[in-house]
Homo-oligomer: 318 residues x 2
């Protein structure tokens, strides 16, 4: 099939592009290169079946033009940083909610009948049931990021109902692995590269978080798209384990062979809207035969090694 | 207190304004008069404690200016018609989601710490548990209207978390009563006024719907604002009963003393995204001591009498 991938130059997007190409599909990538990296698409760009369109998801006309003739959309472009919502209240609304609307409109106008979306476990807010299943209680949002993704999910489901589109909504935990370029492992590595003697940690370090390796994430998405045939297919994507932030710090410092003094900023939440415990119930995707290949510890170690080998990434962003 | 009421010239908004004034509050009404009616505010406008600002919720600067100095927001302005979403896919996004964002921004910029919002039972999509409680399973949206209101709810909750605002989210069933100016009773009356001999009904007429009298709706909102003191307070507002569309038709034709032949368009849903069964579990608001004063049948009859006495409304809109 011919796939339209927004956020194609991003961390998850570029890994998805490579996999789609390896599976024999045609791919049109779409990215504004604001946080995406051309270097992530070097391998893809060597293939004739790949085209990159530089454009912004706030430009609906560009989306319509670029996605013409495609059979399926993977909409991954987003503001992916959950922490800084309150500093820029309109950023999540624009890049995530309105952006998703524009991509849906492009799909509708081009008669594209399949639409996959990267949502987030953050839509559960502070869940009362852990591990949290897809049909958990109606959530109360705790972050502008989660709220913007919830809005995107709602738009997709409504489009599926109104326009006969089939949708796949993936609620990710935090993703790790090759091309990882933002988040706590990135921040900790960057800090330790500049000062191996100390590390500042947001919150009390007891926050429990779940992570998933990017190749496992891509496999899960493709498994669901192949096997789940409902009108709106919602899947949690994660591992069945969690680590505490201080465990994650231990793995990172061990991998980097450093022994910094640790300074905790304190409190159960590292930032406004931080969720002290994220663990998703992933039985639904596992029932389709998928399972993760790496543990969280292996994912963290692999991510650290990737960051060590790709110092250019640290310089390209800040 | 000094209240900022968006959609102040609308059906529910104008009834709320009158009640707030009767309770001794100051009120700044904000309405673009696109569907709102100046005549609904005749009584309010006679009072010094009321000001009407004509403006659009898509104009954030106007909202900031108009709401300055207020203590509480009642955000009721919206596209309130659930049926025509697919004909104008961006209307609900703009008027409901982006509009709500703008009103929140105005509240934040003016340091207004209390925010009440008219959401909808449509956010539950086609609920699997009926009567549907506020903490029902994570919903799948079936209408662009519901999706846009869900997005509004998410934004409010995230603003409460991020900016220390206190929120009240009201999930209404359909509201009936004085100043009712759109919906099935309106449509049926209009049709019967022009041809008393026949009536066309969307769907098979077996859809089960719940309704609430507007004065009961306003009382419930004010009860919740007074008594519910959580960070984000979510309430279903409805009666504990439902009627089928054909029952509603019987009440309307009885009240109008007409006996039309009935033509059903067929199917369990009257339009795309129509929900064949809406009944909300309203124990949460009842536990605060509120209860409705009118049954659904009484509400329908009162609404028909209002429409009969206010034919100008039928002419003003179409």
């Amino acid at each position: 099939m011919k796939c339209f991938v927004t956020g194609a130059a991003g961390f998850i997007g570029s890994n998805l592009v490579d996999r789609l190409l390896a599976d024999g599909h045609q791919v049109v990538g779409f990215d504004n290169l604001a946080t995406g990296q051309r270097r992530f698409l070097e391998q893809a760009s060597a293939q004739e079946r790949f085209t990159l369109v530089t454009g912004d998801i706030l430009d609906e006309a560009a989306l319509v033009e670029a996605s013409r003739g495609c059979d399926m959309v993977f909409h991954l472009a987003a503001n992916a940083d959950v922490r800084f919502g309150p500093d820029h209240p309109d950023r999540d609304l624009k890049q995530n909610t309105i952006g998703t609307f524009n991509v849906l409109e492009a799909a509708r106008k081009n008669g594209i009948g399949r639409f996959a979306f990267s949502s987030t476990g953050s839509v559960y807010g502070e869940a009362t049931v852990i591990p949290t299943p897809e049909d958990a209680a109606f959530p109360v949002q705790t972050s502008l990021y989660g709220a913007s993704k919830l809005a995107g999910e709602g738009l997709i489901a409504a489009y599926c109902e109104a326009f006969g589109i089939r949708g796949w909504i993936f609620r990710f935990v935090s993703i790790l692995g090759e091309r990882y370029s933002h988040g706590h492992v990135y921040d900790f590595c960057r800090s330790l590269f500049s000062d191996r003697g100390k590390l500042r940690i947001l919150g009390d370090g007891l926050q429990k978080k779940s992570y998933l390796y990017v190749q496992d994430c891509v496999s899960a998405m493709l498994t669901a798209v192949e096997k789940a045939r409902g009108k709106v297919n919602v899947f949690n994507l994660g591992t069945d384990e969690y680590v505490q932030v201080r465990d994650s710090v231990r793995i990172i410092t061990d991998e980097l062979k450093v022994s910094p003094s640790l300074e905790y900023t304190g409190g159960a939440r590292g930032w406004i809207g931080d969720n002290p415990f994220i663990l998703l119930d992933c039985r639904r995707i596992r029932e389709l035969g998928w399972k993760p290949s790496l543990t969280i510890e292996e994912s963290v170690r692999r991510t650290v090694r990737y960051i060590q080998a790709n110092r250019w990434l640290l310089e390209s962003r800040h």
